[in-house]
Structure formats: structure tokens, C-alpha cells
Assembly symmetry: C2
Homo-oligomer: 328 residues x 2
DNA sequence: CTGTTAGCGCTTTCAT
DNA sequence: ATGAAAGCGCTAACAG
């Protein structure tokens, strides 16, 4: 491994001082056009690349970087959030390093990024203690989950409120026998039974039996829907764990010849753009990604202001709302 | 903005030398447990965070970072690639910084990242010269497109071959009147008419008239399909610009009551996982993301080996292949 | 176990 | 217009 070409090598080769090289490559004026060309040529010849570390170390303007942990690149919910976050982060002067926690485990992903970023943001399910350890003292902004330790901040989503609104809206539209498709719980992003718990709280005793769990995917949702209407033909509305599964449910209803929303209303959870693409378009409890992203970045800015120190937990909450389309 | 807390401040506060602080925070042994605790406590009290730049500057082990430019987070094609790339990159010891070129323009995105990475990878449509300028001398690995200047390398996809294979496969299965849904061309990732050009080359004169352009989205594809079968009821197969649009076409065929593949065969382009989710599942010319990603990372490694110098263009090509599912 | 000495590669003064 | 000196904040290598 050849030794790195430094600014000194260039200076020597061009017969000037390092400062002159700096002036040339950053075209900061105060330099003779001829020497500048000579220096630039030397750079090219030697294949000189300035060290980004050395430069950032010395430059006043502090560059801020966040590590974004994406739970899955196969669930559009996460990629839509990642996309929004990326755009807003850039606008607000943040660099974003990403890691997927889909294959890798969370601790490993955090660990890998810890030397390169100032804080972490993401959907993380690691226990508080492990999280704090893996983050190596860097602050963490948790998405859709709270943390209890100093240094762990959060933007939560009021799921309970979402379920309440959805169930009552379904009722308003005439549904009487509401079932639910729950996640079987293996995938990333699974919130242990909270949605189901709230569902049972609001849908009432009569509906509690009409819950089927499935794989957290389109096909999983389709199968679960088929099972559900098979076991409970009287069901007239279904609340689905997330939009991906709800998409499958809509698909399955087509295949089964079940009229949606005529015979069964289907309501998803997440408000994915993708939901517009199926027929009938998916009605969903929308988690308002923009608000989520905004709050997360606000927290990041606060943390940056505090020099990424360990602050007591800060919490923000975003409220879901109904996104009416066609399926309900 | 308060002055940064440095290792010196901690050392002074704990009454030890900087080196001892280093030992404590990186728990490298050779340190008394008591002093270690004292130091750690001082760190906490002062809110000390080590500078990642200073650390990276001094540590021998060179950390490599690539800037990944993602054309769109709304098209699963790009996010699936990004996810694969992220996973493989981590395995191979790369850090990945991402920027979206969906809202921001490419030059601005490159510019933003140029100080933080060693090379760029992505679907970029900027002209060679502008690209080289915006990259600030860093090497670029172009995806699905070639570059002609030194420093611009590429992993191309043999689209022509893909179209040829698709058309002849459609023929083999009995299609005689093959139409095409093209991209109207505004979106990111639009390859100016090459797919259409190849289509016309292989589908022959009779089919040339049966081309409809649409928005590069699911709904755009659906509308285009409706237009196409409206204008040309005799069409018995449709090659679609990409899977997103093809998904819309399948959707539309359901709505129109057109049997797929019975009356019309539909073939997309990209091989999205999402294509499995619709009914009938989407047959597609698969671009083999894994090979694409592998080749891109191979190039990145070669470039790293060469210390990210300016090398003459390196080119790799991946061949698409038919991904038979149900729609054709 | 702990401190001292030397840098890492670059940019900012400040002279000249 | 150019150069010399002085760090940025950290860790490796050596002393003690």
C-alpha cells in the first residue's frame, strides 16, 4: 500500500510551499495564475487527493453528520421516510450516513457508523442499555418508540389514537363486525402487539376473536385476509397492521371476488404513497411522515446546538390521521 | 457557540495527561481502574465528545466512504438497489453517505458530499464535463450509463439485449402485435429513448405505431395502458418501460376486464420484487441488481486500491434476463 | 501504570 | 504573490 500523497509532496514537486498549494486547489486568489497552473498540474501528475479528515479538522465550519438506520429497504414505509429525511437533512446542512438494519444487527450497524457521525436516527428496537452502549455515547433519536435513558430521545407516533380514530371511523361508515390483520411479528419494525392491544381496546369484545396474524409483507397480508374471511365470513371491515399487508389484502379481495369497500372495508396503517396504486386505492391511517421527519430533525438540531452532549430524554409526538381513499 | 471541549480539557479536569484520557475512553487497558473512572467521569461532566476527524486523521486504518446518489426514493427500483448496495458495502468495509437527486439537482448533491467521501456511485445523468467538475476530481462509478472521461467509470446494463430477449420471448409465446409503453421522460432515471429505440429495432415496422408514452409512475402506466388498448384493440402484448409503469398496466387491465396474459401479455423492465405482489404477478426483464451492485463495488475497490486517483474509464456490463412470472 | 514526544495533513494567521 | 510558523484534536511510540 503506497504511502499517501500529501500536500507536501505536491509542494515539493511544484517547488512551492504548502500554503501555495492550498491556495491553488481551493482557488482562493492571491496567487499567480502561472504558479497555480503549475501546482494544479503537479496535483494531477501525482494523483493528489486532499485528506477530508485533515481538512475538516482544521476548518472552522463544523460539518454535522447523522447516522440513519433504516429498518428495511423492502418496505416502502421505511424508504419513503428515508427519502424525506435525506432531503430535509440536506436542506438543513446535515450529512447523512446510512446503514440498513435489515440484514445486519442493530448493534453492529451502530458500531460501524459510530466513528463517522455525531448522532443516530432511526427505527431501533434494541433495549435501552444495549442501545446506549452500541451508540458509544452518541445521542440517539428514536423513531416511533421512546427511550428512557439520557441520550435517548424520541419522536413517537400516537398509535393508540390512530387505532381509535380508525375504528370509530369504520363504525361511522356502518361497519359492525371489524376484524384485524396483525403482524406475526418477526419482521423489523414490529411493535409488539401494541396495535393489536389498542384494536382490542376499541373494537370491543365481539371483535377480539377476529384477529389473524400474518407475515409482514404483501403476500402475508393476502394470506391473512383469505384466512380471515374464511374463518369469519361475517366480517365487514378489516384493520390491517400496515399498508404493505393491506395491499395484499386488497389484492386477495380481488382474487376472491369480494367487493371492497362494498362488502368489506379495508383500512391500512402508514399512509404509503403506494396505496394509491392499487384498485380500490387504499384507505389508511397515515403516520404523517413529514411531521415525523421534521420533529426528528428539530431534535437533531437541538442536539447539535448542545454539542451532542448527553441530554435528558426529549420527546415529540406526531398524531396519525385518516387518509381516506377508496378501500374504506 | 461555546468552544469545543477537547481531550485537553478533560485531561486537565481529571488531572492526568491526554494519553491517559485516550486510554480511558478507548478502554485500551494499561490503566488503573480508578483513574479510568475519574477520567470517564470528567468526560461526562464536561460533555466531551472526541472529534471524529482528529481521530480518523491520526488512525492508520483508512476508512473509506462512498457517496451514493439515489435518483428517487419513490421508485422501488432505486431503493432496492440502494438497499443491496448498502448491505454489501458494509460487508466490504465501506461507509455510505447518501443523497437524493430527486429534489436536489445532481451537481448540488455531488458538491455537498464531495468533502466527505472518496468516490461517488449512482445513477447520474449529468453531462460528462459537468459531472467531472461537480465531483471535484473524485472518481465516479456510473450506473446504467457510460462516461467517456478519465475518472468516470461505469456499470452498464445491456438494455438492447434485454429488449431483444423480451421481444423474441413474447414472439415465442405467440404474440404477434406487440405494443410498447414508453416513459414520457420527465422523471429521474429516464434513459432518452434507448429502450424505445431498441423496441422499434426488434419489434419491427408493424409495431412501431403502437407506442404510448406515460408518466413514470404506477398511475402513469395505467393510463398509458388504457390509451394503448383503446387506440389499438388488436395489441396482444405490451412491453413496458419499467416495472412501476407495468404495475399500473396490470392494474388497469384488471379494471378494464382484460385477461392477462390470455388476451394481452404484459412484460415490465427491472425485475422489482414488488412485481410478485400483483395479480397476475409481473413478468419482467430483470436487471439483476445483485450483479450490478457487485460490479459497482468491485470498481470501488479497484479505485480505492489506486488511492482514488484518476484512472482511464473502466467498464463493466451486466446482462438482463427474463424473469418469468405470470403476466406474460 | 502514566507521561512525554512526535506527528497525522491540512489551513489559518502573519510576515515578507 | 509567496512563505514561515502555529496549530486543529487526537493517538502511536516510546520513555519512565
Amino acid at each position: 500500500m503506497a504511502k499517501r500523497v500529501t500536500i507536501n509532496d505536491v509542494a515539493r514537486a511544484a517547488g512551492v510551499s504548502r500554503q501555495t498549494v492550498t491556495r491553488a486547489i481551493n482557488n482562493m486568489g492571491e496567487i499567480n495564475e502561472q504558479t497555480k497552473q503549475r501546482v494544479l498540474e503537479a496535483c494531477e501528475r501525482l494523483g493528489y487527493r486532499p485528506s477530508r479528515f485533515a481538512r475538516n479538522l482544521v476548518v472552522r465550519k463544523k460539518s454535522r453528520a447523522m447516522g440513519l438506520l433504516v429498518a428495511s429497504f423492502r418496505n416502502p414505509y421505511y424508504t419513503e421516510i428515508a427519502g424525506d429525511l435525506l432531503n430535509s437533512a440536506a436542506e438543513r446542512g446535515w450529512h447523512v450516513l446510512m446503514a440498513s438494519t435489515e440484514t445486519e444487527d442493530e448493534a453492529a450497524a451502530l458500531d460501524m457508523l459510530s466513528g463517522q457521525v455525531d448522532l443516530f436516527v432511526g427505527h431501533l428496537w434494541l433495549a435501552d442499555d444495549d442501545l446506549a452502549r452500541a451508540a458509544r455515547g452518541l445521542p440517539v433519536v428514536l423513531l416511533e418508540r421512546a427511550g428512557e435513558r439520557p441520550g435517548l430521545h424520541s419522536v413517537e407516533v400516537d398509535i393508540r389514537e390512530g387505532v381509535r380514530v380508525a375504528v370509530s371511523a369504520l363504525r361511522d361508515r356502518g361497519a359492525r363486525r371489524i376484524g384485524m390483520i396483525d403482524s406475526a411479528g418477526s419482521g423489523p419494525g414490529y411493535v409488539p402487539s401494541s396495535r393489536r392491544g389498542y384494536f382490542e381496546e376499541f373494537a370491543g369484545a365481539g371483535s377480539a376473536g377476529m384477529v389473524v396474524a400474518g407475515d409482514e409483507s404483501i403476500t402475508g397480508g393476502g394470506r391473512a385476509f383469505t384466512d380471515l374471511v374464511g374463518a369469519h365470513p361475517e366480517v365487514d371491515a378489516v384493520l390491517v397492521f400496515n399498508d404493505l399487508m393491506a395491499l395484499g389484502a386488497v389484492q386477495a379481495s380481488n382474487a376472491l371476488g369480494i367487493d371492497v369497500p362494498g362488502r368489506v372495508r379495508i383500512c391500512g396503517f402508514d399512509g404509503l404513497t403506494l396505496g394509491e396504486a392499487v384498485h380500490p386505492a387504499l384507505t389508511s391511517v397515515s403516520l404523517d411522515r413529514h411531521a415525523l421527519v421534521r420533529e426528528a430533525l428539530d431534535l437533531a438540531d437541538v442536539l447539535a446546538e448542545a454539542d451532542f452532549g448527553v441530554l435528558p430524554p426529549m420527546r415529540r409526538t406526531v398524531r396519525p390521521r385518516m387518509l381516506w381513499r377508496e378501500s374504506a
